[in-house]
């Protein structure tokens, strides 16, 4: 049984060698037993890491002149195993606000539903809809109070309120950012590249939807943890509307159709020298 070693702190303990058999227990520095692990300090960290699911997904959202465009993939993975290709990662908080899911599915679903309840209570108590800033702040404060307890949530709250379109990024570390373009998940760097290069504020709804769809497709192409169906939602002044849900495999052949390969080299007769 491994005991915690305080001998370095106790001046009375002998520097080298074990204590005398006769007065061993009396002179030995007080200590307690440790669990049997190789690396006591590291094992606790490893345990938290094991429970904490990596955010294997791609979600994105951006504000443009006609509102907010929200898109996500639909793959759920557990390490190397794809557990589902049809997960709903865009959560409908209420008819004019959407939330995206990245991280723990249960955490996101539960806390978004909880947020929906609190938003409705706010409406009933104050006779007006809650703003996107207010809703995201409520969620951020709740997540902050559970900081360090292993929640894994990387979400974007998108909506349309009195001030127009609003987009906030909220995560389980307690961070909250207001912005115009966000992408969250393991596929987000790939999506950011396509999104940033194609973005203009004055896109039309169709162009913005196509940009969102394309960005999700490119992320699913390169990131193993993203795939399935690319869903695209639009949040306008009258609330959200689902625009499309395309299988990314089909999108691939739509964007890059198979071309008949040209014959590069013909076999020719080699003349005998």
């Amino acid at each position: 049984m491994m005991k915690i070693d305080f001998s370095g702190l106790d001046p009375a303990a002998p520097i080298k060698g074990r204590t005398d058999e006769l007065c061993g227990d009396i002179l030995a520095t007080p200590s307690f037993a440790l669990p049997t692990t190789h690396d006591f300090d590291g094992f606790q960290k490893a345990a938290v890491q094991m429970v904490k699911p990596a955010k294997g997904t791609t979600t994105l959202a951006f504000i443009f002149k006609d509102g907010v465009m929200v898109a996500a993939d639909s793959r759920a993975s557990m390490g190397g195993y794809i557990s589902s290709q049809s997960v709903k990662k865009i959560i409908e908080i209420n008819p004019y606000m959407l939330g995206t899911m990245a991280g723990g599915a249960a955490d996101c679903q539960f806390w978004h539903r909880n947020l929906g309840i609190k938003c409705r209570l706010h409406e009933l108590a104050n006779k007006r809809r809650i703003s996107v800033a207010g809703a995201s702040k409520m969620l951020s404060n709740i997540l902050y109070s559970y900081r360090g307890m292993g929640l894994s949530v990387g979400t974007m709250i998108a909506g349309w309120d009195e001030k127009g379109p609003g987009l906030y990024y909220v995560d389980s570390e307690g961070g909250r950012l207001k912005g115009t373009r966000f992408s969250v998940g393991s596929g987000s760097p790939y999506a950011y590249g396509v999104l940033d290069s194609g973005y203009r504020f004055d896109l039309s709804v169709e162009e913005a939807a196509e940009l969102a769809r394309r960005a999700i497709y490119h992320a699913t192409f390169r990131d193993g943890a993203s795939g399935g169906v690319a869903s695209v939602y639009h949040v306008g002044p009258n609330g959200w509307k689902k625009l499309s849900g395309d299988d990314v495999g089909e999108l691939h052949y739509m964007y890059y159709p198979v071309e008949p390969t040209s014959v590069e080299q013909e076999m020719t007769e080699v003349s005998v020298a």
């Binding site: 307690g174 909250r176 950012l177 912005g179 115009t180």
Partner: protein
């Protein structure tokens, strides 16, 4: 790592902070304002974990406002600094806040002052201070060129020198900075130094 630095001039104090919000290798935002205006004559620039930074500085801001409501007079900069340090110290051995703070303020009786408060709750009243990787460059620049009682123009020149140095020498250099000033006329935003304009700026 986020850079925050500040210095005291003739009748003013300046706080400068970078403005990128970063998550491992991704930059989520390049125009995040990390210098909170606590009240009419106080600025608090903070660097550290995103959630802790926003929550802790807002907590201090609301408590400063509460004191004013209750007592009819605003807190002095020194009292605010000591209150902040006390809150960090109390939380330190239970649920520490990972925030480094530069607090600058102007009091009618004592003039401008700057306080350095780090995440393990040490407090120092200083003329110049810096946090983050940028501090490696800003501190020596300020040590070399700082003089007592600089004018606003001279101080901004020094700040720009520091920003240029951080931008050119730091491998993960933040592109944009925000500069805020506090003097007898109050605490306000002085300027932004932007080398990358976020989409937002165009849309507004």
């Amino acid at each position: 790592m986020e850079s925050v630095f500040g210095l005291v001039g003739k009748d003013f104090a300046i706080v400068v902070a970078d403005s990128s919000a970063v998550h491992s290798i991704l930059v989520h935002k390049t125009n995040e304002d990390k210098i909170m205006v606590l009240d009419s004559h106080k600025l608090m620039g903070a660097s550290g974990e995103t959630g802790d930074r926003a929550q802790f500085t807002e907590y201090i801001q609301k408590n400063v406002a509460l004191y004013q409501f209750r007592n009819g007079i605003p807190l002095t900069t020194s009292a605010t600094a000591n209150f902040t340090r006390g809150e960090l110290a109390t939380a330190l051995r239970k649920n520490p806040y990972m925030v480094n703070i530069i607090l600058a303020g102007y009091d009618k009786e004592t003039g401008p002052s700057l306080y350095y408060i780090d995440y393990i709750a040490s407090l120092h009243k200083l003329d110049k201070a810096a946090f983050g990787y940028g501090s490696y460059f800003a501190l020596s620049m300020m040590d070399r060129h700082y003089r007592k009682d600089m004018t606003v123009e001279e101080a901004i020149e020094l700040v720009d020198k520091c920003i240029v140095e951080i931008r050119s020498r730091l491998v993960v250099a933040p592109p944009n900075f925000v500069i805020k000033i506090v003097d007898k006329d109050g605490a306000r935003e002085y300027a932004w130094r932007q080398s990358i304009k976020d989409g937002e700026v165009l849309a507004a």
